[in-house]
């Protein structure tokens, strides 16, 4: 922490990101900036490069060239653990939950509360009570109600599972939360709750990157929308009803610019 006001300057910056998988160019020079307390929607058709971009930010993929910086600190090429330790949390489309574990175990997977500190991390003793307690507190704060906190998440509904995944990201992110289609598998009402969580993040001064196929949601919660197509950033606009057509034309590539 540099001590400066987190909302006053860019939090996350990606510059000229390039990534190829064999013959396929997934990212062809994408740049973006997200500030604290801002929701940036990332739009684009399947294969546009959205997932590759967020995986590059979260340390799952490594860029061929380009940089990722957080508050001026270079995170290019950092692994998933380091990225998380720096306050960037990602909720993946496929949730990345552990179905066989309860919510508390899911929350703390990979960063379990344990001790004593002089033992190597895998041999430390789990602090079950502490983890359960903090999980309960956090879910209460986010107004997420689960029927049974001791049950594996396999026994929960889609909305409850999504709530656990989003709450996990909220719990640990201090700077940036990346949400990859957080409402894709949800009903209308459960989607509303997740969008509510996104608003709360924004109010807390966290930078949010939201991938969504729902224009209504993007209009409801995002401050800006960046459109990717074939690995390039093809346009950026404020997602309003008036800009709807423009954004869609960028997504499908039907704009006049594409012909030229």
């Amino acid at each position: 922490m540099s001590g400066s006001d987190p909302t006053s300057r860019p939090v996350l910056e990606v510059r000229d990101a390039r990534k190829r998988f064999g013959a396929v160019t997934a990212l062809d020079g994408v740049s973006l900036v997200v500030e604290g307390g801002e929701v940036l929607a990332l739009l684009g058709d399947n294969g546009a490069g959205k997932s590759t971009l967020i995986k590059a930010i979260s340390g799952v993929h490594h860029l061929d060239s380009g940089t990722v910086t957080l508050d001026g600190v270079d995170l290019t090429g950092a692994n998933a653990m380091t990225v998380r330790a720096n306050g960037i949390e990602t909720v993946y489309q496929d949730l990345a939950l552990f179905d066989n574990l309860d919510p508390a175990a899911n929350f703390y997977a990979g960063r379990e509360l344990a001790g004593p500190a002089w033992l190597p991390p895998p041999l430390r003793f789990l602090r079950h009570g502490q983890m359960a307690q903090r999980t309960r507190e956090l879910l209460d704060r986010l107004q997420v109600s689960l029927p049974d906190l001791d049950a594996p998440v396999a026994l929960m509904s889609g909305g409850q599972r999504q709530a656990v995944a989003v709450a996990r990201a909220v719990a640990f992110s201090t700077r940036v939360v990346i949400l990859d289609e957080p409402t894709a598998a949800l009903g209308l009402r459960e989607s509303g709750r997740v969008i509510e969580l996104v608003r709360r993040l924004k109010d807390d001064g966290v930078a949010v990157i939201l991938i969504s196929h729902s224009m209504d949601q993007v209009q409801a919660v995002a401050d800006r929308a960046l459109v990717l197509r074939r690995g390039r950033a093809v346009g950026e606009a404020v997602p309003t009803a008036e800009n709807h057509e423009l954004l869609v034309s960028w997504i499908v590539g039907a704009s006049a610019g594409a012909a030229g």
Binding site: A105, A109, G110, P122, L126, S157
Partner: protein
């Protein structure tokens, strides 16, 4: 225009309620009630392996006069000890979606190495250490081949090791049984508590069972109490998510195979002690009993689900079945068929449990609306 639309909505709602209450009264209380029934039956089904064991014991007690005695209980426990220990290692591997086919051969090899060290050096400590180290190293090689060698499935390296370790055991022993074992190992494998003065009432209790209990306690501690154990369950539950969450998946995998190998070493000590000798084929096919025990114990081959106590129960089920059928004078070949039937029965129970879980989930979804 409005009326048809309204009617459609109403129909959908009625259908939803009918599904939610499974044909029962469409009241608000019904989903909650059937949820409780399902949760309860889920709890009962989680007792699955214990239910099978208790049923077996009751039936065999009725059929045989000698089955229900301390002496016979001691026999069953002693006979099951090797499979119990192997099953504990196999459980760890299966929890990570893996399988270890090599434990039987590893048992033979570890025993042969230990017996040679005892024969040539007469040091009990060195013999025990050599046995355990051999088992552990063989297991670690399995893990390294799987993880670093990027083999597609643990079936491959452990199948290769099954053959290789078996060959090495035959080579080192010149295909001969090596006689003799350290006295302490004999006590572990064959002893009963009777030698302790005043142990009268519990004199039938096998020392090998104490070894099983001790090893099981350690496995419970490391799987439930340590961060490592949480990682084992996480890797089995969702390997990709484990990577994303920064869990060192390769190390976790290598460690479970190393521990499974170590268990083969412990089982080799028990086998060697029981027969006061090490044969290069003493562990042949033991891996199948170990895998069967874990499966009867309700562990999921899809990973991430399984309990130590249930794996031990599975091993006891196999031993009780064999012992009971022996006492009843039934053709030994029937024992294998019976074991096969029990495996299928146990997994069918598990499948049923999965269906009930699905019902619970859909009811939760309805309740959340």
């Amino acid at each position: 225009m409005k009326q048809p639309g309204g009617a459609t909505v109403a129909v959908v709602e009625v259908e939803n309620e009918a599904t939610a209450t499974a044909g029962g009264e469409p009241t608000a209380a019904a989903p909650a009630a059937s949820h409780h029934v399902l949760t309860l039956s889920l709890r009962v089904m989680q007792l699955g392996p214990a239910m099978i064991l208790v049923t077996l014991v009751v039936v065999l007690s009725l059929l045989s006069d000698v089955f229900l005695s301390f002496e016979n209980a001691g026999n069953v426990m002693k006979q099951s000890a090797v499979v119990c220990v192997l099953a504990l290692g196999q459980l760890l591997v299966i929890l990570t979606r893996g399988i270890d086919l090599s434990v039987g051969s590893n048992l033979s090899l570890s025993g042969v190495v230990g017996a040679i060290v005892w024969r040539d050096h007469r040091s009990a400590a060195a013999a025990i250490l050599a046995t355990l180290a051999t088992g552990c190293v063989v297991g670690m090689v399995n893990g390294l081949l799987y993880v670093k060698g990027r083999l597609p499935h643990p079936f491959i390296p452990t199948l290769a090791m099954l053959t290789a370790a078996s060959g090495l055991a035959l080579y080192l022993s010149h295909a001969q049984t090596i006689q003799g074992a350290p006295p302490v190992v004999n006590t572990l494998g064959a002893g009963r508590l009777g030698w302790i003065p005043g142990a009268g009432p519990i004199g039938w209790f096998p020392v090998a069972t104490l070894v099983v209990v001790g090893v099981a306690a350690v496995v419970v501690l490391i799987t439930r109490g340590l961060v490592w154990g949480r990682w084992v369950y996480a890797v089995g539950g969702n390997p990709e998510a484990a990577v994303r969450n920064g869990i060192p998946v390769p190390s976790v995998l290598i460690s479970v195979y190393a521990l499974s190998g170590l268990m083969a070493g412990v089982a080799a000590l028990l086998t060697m002690g029981k027969g006061n000798a090490a044969s290069p084929t003493s562990g042949s096919l033991a891996e199948l009993d170990a895998i069967a025990a874990v499966i009867i114990g309700g562990a999921s081959f899809l990973g991430g689900r399984g309990r130590v106590i249930n794996a031990l129960t599975g091993a006891l089920v196999i031993a009780v079945l064999r012992n009971g059928l022996n006492l009843l004078g039934i053709d030994p070949n029937w024992q294998y068929m019976a074991t096969g039937a029990v495996i299928v029965l146990a997994v069918e129970l598990d499948v049923l449990r999965g269906h009930v879980e699905g019902r619970v989930r859909s009811l939760q979804a309805v309740a959340a609306q």
